[in-house]
């Protein structure tokens, strides 16, 4: 890993298009400003990790974990049914 020292208001460049600026430093908290093209997505890593972890956990779900058909959803029975794109295929 490349490690650089920066002071407040100093910037690093990643390639030609991504800039990361140290906006503020207070105690153990550093605020960063990030400028990047829209096709580069910028996320807090813990959010990304949490979604990945939850995907892995949710992949273990079993048919018997679901409520019996007809018992969901709670609420308005006149609600429109969820539509799959083009209508979901049925089990055969």
């Amino acid at each position: 890993m490349l490690v650089l020292s920066r002071q407040r208001d100093e910037t690093i460049m990643i390639g030609d298009e991504i800039e990361i600026t140290v906006v503020d430093i207070r105690g153990d908290k550093v605020r960063l400003g990030i400028t990047a093209p829209t096709h580069i997505s910028v996320h807090r890593k813990e959010v990304y990790d949490a979604i990945q972890r939850e995907n892995r956990a949710a992949a273990n779900i079993k048919p018997e974990d679901l409520p019996p058909p007809g018992s969901t959803p709670p609420g308005d029975p006149n609600d429109r049914r969820p539509r799959g794109p083009g209508g979901p295929p049925r089990r055969s």
Binding site: H43, E54, D65, P82, S92
Partner: protein
């Protein structure tokens, strides 16, 4: 075509209706094609079964059926990646999990799908008001008990 699944055996699905996630889902980058399967006549839940991996399947639902106030802002860039210019041609699903006696939904990582082409992407929302385990409903104790003995 018939696809093999660990949960349901071989099932016949219309390969014209497969969902295609060019980048996969987070943690599952290599599984790109899924079949959407109804769980029952009146169920809000669908199975999203990986076409090429029998043991990989998710339960998904329309989040607005349970969380009417759920609104997300989809970035133009994300829409562009599924071939859309605006949200009107898209449908949002969320992945469902069972945590103890509660069904939860991952509202922080919704799936957005181009209804016409069935190309989709899992979004990463930065808003902290959404969680990866938003409670949808408590399972009846009867069902929880059945699950234990199953």
């Amino acid at each position: 075509m018939v696809i093999e699944t660990s949960r349901f055996g071989g099932i016949d699905v219309d390969d014209q209706k497969f969902l295609n996630f060019p980048k996969g889902l987070l943690g599952f980058p290599d599984d790109r094609e899924y079949a959407l399967i109804q769980t029952g006549e009146n169920s809000a839940f669908y199975w999203m079964q990986a076409v090429h991996r029998p043991e990989l399947a998710f339960v998904v639902c329309d989040p607005r059926m349970f969380v009417p106030e759920y609104r997300i802002a989809i970035k133009a860039e994300d829409l562009g990646q599924i071939g859309l210019a605006e949200t009107s041609g898209s449908q949002v699903f969320v992945i469902v999990n069972k945590v103890d006696d509660t069904l939860t939904a991952n509202l922080q990582g919704p799936l957005v799908i181009n209804v016409a082409t069935r190309v989709g992407k899992q979004l990463v929302l930065s808003e902290k008001k959404f969680t990866t385990r938003h409670p949808l409903m408590k399972l009846p104790a009867r069902i929880a008990a059945l699950t234990k003995t199953a």
